[in-house]
């Protein structure tokens, strides 16, 4: 096993003991990047070659020299008897939706392609202060608007390490692809409707969306501000735990970050699941969507292989002593996507106002006649299709004459979804659940270009993840097997506010109980290929 395939926990332990240096781990990881990543995403080259189709293309900016300086600093501090922190020498990547001082912070958009941030996002700063080594910024859907990574302006867009013909999911697809391929043990992602959990499921890694407010959003380029959550992407539950412990907690720069104390997540990790009440809901075993052509409501069962994996996980947990509660009603689940369409777009349209060509970022090189012309040309040329669609819809549904009908109504739906969760987690209620077990996604990864362009259909890839964003509650996606095509299947645990510790505890128990399963021995294609 190579150093870059070790878990963050193992790396930090070896580096602390000075059995390997942070620099050695970094060089091994950079080597892995050079072998599997191919050329980074960039502007200006629209065509991808057949050769491109073999690589992951997780990165937009690889900041190798910056990382070397940091790794050497960690080694120097260790040599001097200092403790650089719990992430000492652990290489990680950052979704390019976070600003990092002195590095390009693009949001995957032409409009920010030349933007070099003057400050660093709080979660990144916390990881670096804990001794973590940032490798660089990874690709994403433009401004995180998507579930496949195909909307990035930086091409080639990331591919699924398990099979590069498939998408990695999104919008944190660069993060999950990188972690799956051994390009850094950890990645910092964001989850607005499932943007950590869905690609984690597609790429066979662990992804967690913490409770809203648990991790600071300062320095996260906003999409849907009331829904956005930074969170960890890792290969193991323990690593996700380690990373969450570092990034969680009140930040004076973010007034929506909470003062609730951060518990010692690691201490409960091995507590097991005996006596825990874990629910299954039929409302998460189907998806409901509006046929974009007929307007009819269509209901479809989820992929049987995904359902089977979920049931199997319930059996494993039951065998470990958990109590499985069947038929838990989550009646408002299928309103999640329509409500999300409205709320996220109202916030997104407003959040995108600042990109006007006046202060930073892209400004049209063309002659402009007046201010309106500057705005129109700059934004017309700088934004890709997805931001434009979101601006249009966001403007429409927040207009004074429609706001009541759409935005205010969507907020009411949101509180109904929240109530679904409050009911099942109520400690004196009928269900008294510790967690709800669901599939993370209705299907496994789809092929490149299969769904892209169908903005409505793409959104339904998030139907099972978005309710947690509406409700603000935490969720974690874990690998739970491979389908017939060899693509990862993800299962999800959802919990009450600040129940991250419980979710990690359940996830860890499940992970440990299934360590010996055959599918766990398989590696992503792009990594497997290296051994040949």
């Amino acid at each position: 096993m190579e150093l870059c395939d070790l878990s963050a926990e193992q790396i930090a332990s070896l580096v602390h003991k000075r059995e390997v240096s942070a620099r050695e781990v970094l060089e091994a990881t950079l080597n892995r990047v050079s072998l599997v990543d191919g050329r980074p995403g960039q502007l200006g080259i629209e065509e991808t070659t057949p050769d491109d189709e073999k690589y992951v293309h997780a990165f937009i900016s690889l900041t190798a020299e910056r990382a070397r300086v940091q790794a050497d600093e960690v080694d120097r501090r260790l040599a001097g008897g200092e403790d650089p922190g719990p992430l000492a020498g652990v290489p990680f990547t950052v979704k390019d939706i976070f600003v990092v001082r002195g590095t390009p912070s693009t949001a995957g958009s032409r409009i920010l392609a030349n933007f070099v941030a003057p400050y660093t996002a709080t979660p990144v700063e916390r990881m670096e202060q804990a001794g973590g080594i940032m490798l660089g910024k990874v690709n994403l859907d433009e401004f995180t608007y998507g579930s496949s990574n195909e909307s990035s302006a930086f091409i080639p867009t990331p591919r699924n390490p398990w099979n590069p013909a498939y998408v990695p999911g999104g919008s944190s697809g660069g993060s999950t692809a990188a972690v799956a391929a051994g390009e850094g043990a950890l990645s910092l992602g964001t989850d607005t409707a499932g943007s950590i959990r869905q690609p984690a499921a597609f790429c066979g890694v662990v992804g967690m969306k913490p409770t809203y407010g648990r991790v600071s959003r300062y320095g996260l380029i906003a999409f849907g501000s009331s829904l956005d959550c930074p969170g960890p992407v890792a290969r193991t539950v323990k690593d996700a735990t380690l990373m969450l412990s570092v990034i969680a907690g009140r930040d004076p720069h973010d007034q929506t970050s909470v003062t609730v104390p951060v518990p010692d997540y690691a201490s409960r990790l091995e507590a097991g699941v005996k006596g825990l009440r874990i629910g299954l809901s039929p409302d998460y075993f189907r998806i409901t969507f509006v046929d974009p052509h007929t307007g009819e409501l269509i209901e479809r069962p989820i992929d049987p292989e995904v359902l089977a994996a979920t049931r199997r996980a319930a059996d494993v947990l039951a065998s470990l002593g958990a109590e499985i509660i069947e038929d838990v009603p989550m009646p408002h689940t299928h309103y999640g996507i329509p409500a999300y369409f409205v709320i996220s777009r109202v916030e997104a349209a407003s959040n995108l106002h600042r990109y006007d060509g006046v202060k930073y970022g892209y400004r049209t090189p063309e002659y402009v006649t007046d201010l309106r012309d500057l705005y129109r040309k700059t934004r017309g040329q700088g934004f890709g299709l997805q931001p434009k669609l979101r601006i249009l819809m966001g403007m429409y549904v927040s207009a004074a004459q429609y706001s009541e009908q759409y935005y205010v109504r969507a907020l009411r739906v949101r509180s109904l979804i929240r109530r679904d969760f409050e009911t099942i987690f109520d400690p004196s209620g009928a269900y008294r659940l510790d967690a709800l077990l669901t599939p993370t996604t209705p299907t496994t990864a789809f092929t490149m270009q299969e769904v892209y362009g169908d903005s409505v259909l793409m959104q339904y890839a998030d139907e099972l993840t978005v309710p947690a964003n509406h409700a603000g509650v935490p969720g974690i996606s874990l690998p739970a097997g491979l389908d017939r095509k060899g693509l990862p299947i993800g299962i999800q645990f959802l919990g009450a506010d600040y129940a991250e510790a419980t979710l990690l505890q359940i996830g860890f128990a499940y992970e440990q109980a299934t360590l010996g399963e055959d599918w766990r021995k398989r590696k992503p294609q792009v990594v497997e290929r290296l051994a040949v």
Binding site: F98, V99, S105, A107, L112, F115, A117, P118, Y119, A121, R217, Y218, G219, L220, I221, A222, G224, S225, S226, P252, H253, D254, Q255, T256, V346, E347, A349, S350, L352, H353, R354, D356, V358, K359, Y360, L371, Y375, M395, S398, A399, A400, S403, Y407
Partner: protein, 489 residues
């Protein structure tokens, strides 16, 4: 003004709050008319990607002070909202303001107009952030604009009245009354020239007896009370003339041209702008604890209106006399401190000396009462000397002028310059007889019946003493000696 029309006016006032830092970031609040451009700018107030606002608690406290002073109903929970529009002085492309749920509403402010007292209802008071400033440049035929973000994000209080005002005089009285309150509370300097206090009247006219309000216009860029009053008067006349000639008022924003003394159309506003307000997701609801509100309420100073009433009652001042004193808290304090220090001087005398001679000196020098070297102690010392007759009124004015320059006490100035009033009766008798002895011809004419010469003789005595003789004693003594002369003749 055509008496068959009634003007209906409401005011929207924007007051920057004198906090040390901006509304949502740690940047200092600078005097934006003097600071070099873009000196107080950080990623937050420049609207960089990823930044988040953090509420300045001091700004909330200041806003509460104002809301309480305006007798408003305070909402313990209020909500910040985004007002979305594009302009280069608005870095985020939205202004963080309050919309559906403001900090306070339903207040009132009693004001003193020339016609008496008036209650003006306050519709709402809310917190928001100021925008930056654009400077338009034309350089060799190339036009461009420069953006200065020093002002972007300075806490701004918006105070909106009901349309309760009906004349330019009332508009001015309310504006001055509000400015006075803001200055009493120490939350705003009231400097309209610098733009930290911006007053925008919404003006319409209607036929007397009409229920329905007329179409209104909003007047902008008024940088003095005089401009406010004149612009209101102009706009009222313009609207009436327009209606009288069969025309219609179009809803619009007008600017005030202070040189030509006219309003001019800036922008027609036939439809309401749609700012697509929605709750600011980056901020939790603003919660102000009841106990905090009460604490602030208790700490409020006595405000201009109640003080105006009290000064009249307590010191027997006239309404106008009291109004002049209470407009500025420092002046009223100066008055009351002086009265306390010189109880033997009638309060009205103190008031007259302040609004007369002292104001004269302040106006001439451009100083304020806080920045002069004259303290209530010095001032009381001076007035005491006048009261006890040690110096006369004229000497006192001279002494005051010197005191104003040097900050020295009246006693010092009087002694140094030998200005003490001569009240010694023997001395005065000697002076009078000296003058009578030296001017036998004039005395003779007086005795022959030219009684007007008594004033001339009085002047001679005063001249002899360089004005320091106690004038009433001189008059008395002169009378006495002349009478003696006429009877002994």
């Amino acid at each position: 003004m055509n008496a068959s029309y009634e003007p209906v006016i409401g005011l929207e006032i924007h007051a920057e709050l004198l906090t040390a830092s901006k509304m949502f970031c740690a940047c200092p609040v600078l005097d934006v008319t003097e600071a070099e451009p873009n000196r107080a700018v950080c990623p937050v107030c420049a609207g960089m990607p990823g930044v988040l606002p953090v509420i300045n608690q001091k700004a909330v406290e200041y806003a509460l002070r104002v809301a309480l002073a305006l007798n408003c109903e305070i909402f313990e929970t209020s909500i910040f909202a985004r007002k979305n529009y594009f302009y280069p002085d608005l870095p985020k492309g939205y202004q963080i303001s309050q919309y559906e749920f403001p900090l306070a509403r339903n207040g009132y402010l009693p004001v003193i107009t020339s016609a008496g007292e008036k209650i003006v209802r306050i519709r709402r008071v809310h917190l928001e952030e100021d925008t930056g400033k654009l400077t338009h440049v034309e350089d060799n035929g190339i036009a461009y604009s420069l953006v200065d973000l020093n002002r972007a994000g300075i806490p701004l209080l918006e105070i909106v009245t009901e349309p309760d005002l009906h004349s330019p005089d009332e508009v001015r009285a309310y504006a001055e009354g509000l400015r006075s309150v803001l200055r009493y509370l120490g939350v705003n300097s009231g400097d309209m020239q610098k733009g930290v206090l911006r007053i925008e009247p919404n003006i319409s006219v209607r036929k007397l007896g009409d229920e329905k309000l007329g179409t209104r216009t909003e007047v902008k860029n008024l940088n003095s009370f005089r401009a406010l009053e004149r612009a209101a008067a102009y706009e009222i006349e313009r609207q009436i003339a327009l209606l009288e000639s069969g025309g219609e008022v179009r809803q619009q924003t007008v600017g005030w041209d202070d040189v030509k003394q006219v309003t001019f159309t800036q922008r027609y506003k036939e439809t309401e702008d749609d700012y697509r307000y929605f709750p600011e997701p980056d901020l939790p609801p603003l919660v102000v604890e009841k106990s905090w509100i009460e604490e602030i309420r208790r700490s409020l100073p006595e405000l201009p209106y109640p003080r105006w009433k009290r000064l009249q009652q307590m010191y027997g001042l006239g309404s106008q006399e009291a109004a002049v004193l209470v407009a500025e808290r420092a002046v009223a304090d100066f008055f009351e401190d002086t009265v306390k220090l010189a109880p033997e001087v009638p309060a009205r005398q103190v008031a007259i000396w302040i609004s007369g001679s002292l104001f004269g000196l302040l106006n001439l020098s451009g100083k304020s009462i806080e920045t002069t070297r004259i303290t209530p102690e010095l001032f009381a010392g001076l007035l005491r000397q006048v009261e006890t007759g040690q110096i006369n009124q004229n000497t006192a004015k001279t002494v005051l002028a010197e005191m104003f320059e040097t900050g020295r006490s009246a006693t010092e100035i009087v002694t140094d310059r030998g200005l003490t009033q001569i009240s010694d009766e023997t001395a005065i008798a000697r002076l009078v007889s000296q003058v009578l002895d030296e001017n036998p011809a004039q005395v003779q004419e007086y005795l022959n019946g030219k009684t007007g010469l008594q004033n001339w003789l009085f002047g001679q005595v005063m001249r002899l003493t360089a004005g320091q003789a106690n004038p009433s004693l001189v008059r008395q003594e002169l009378n006495r000696q002349l009478k003696v002369l006429s009877t002994t003749r």
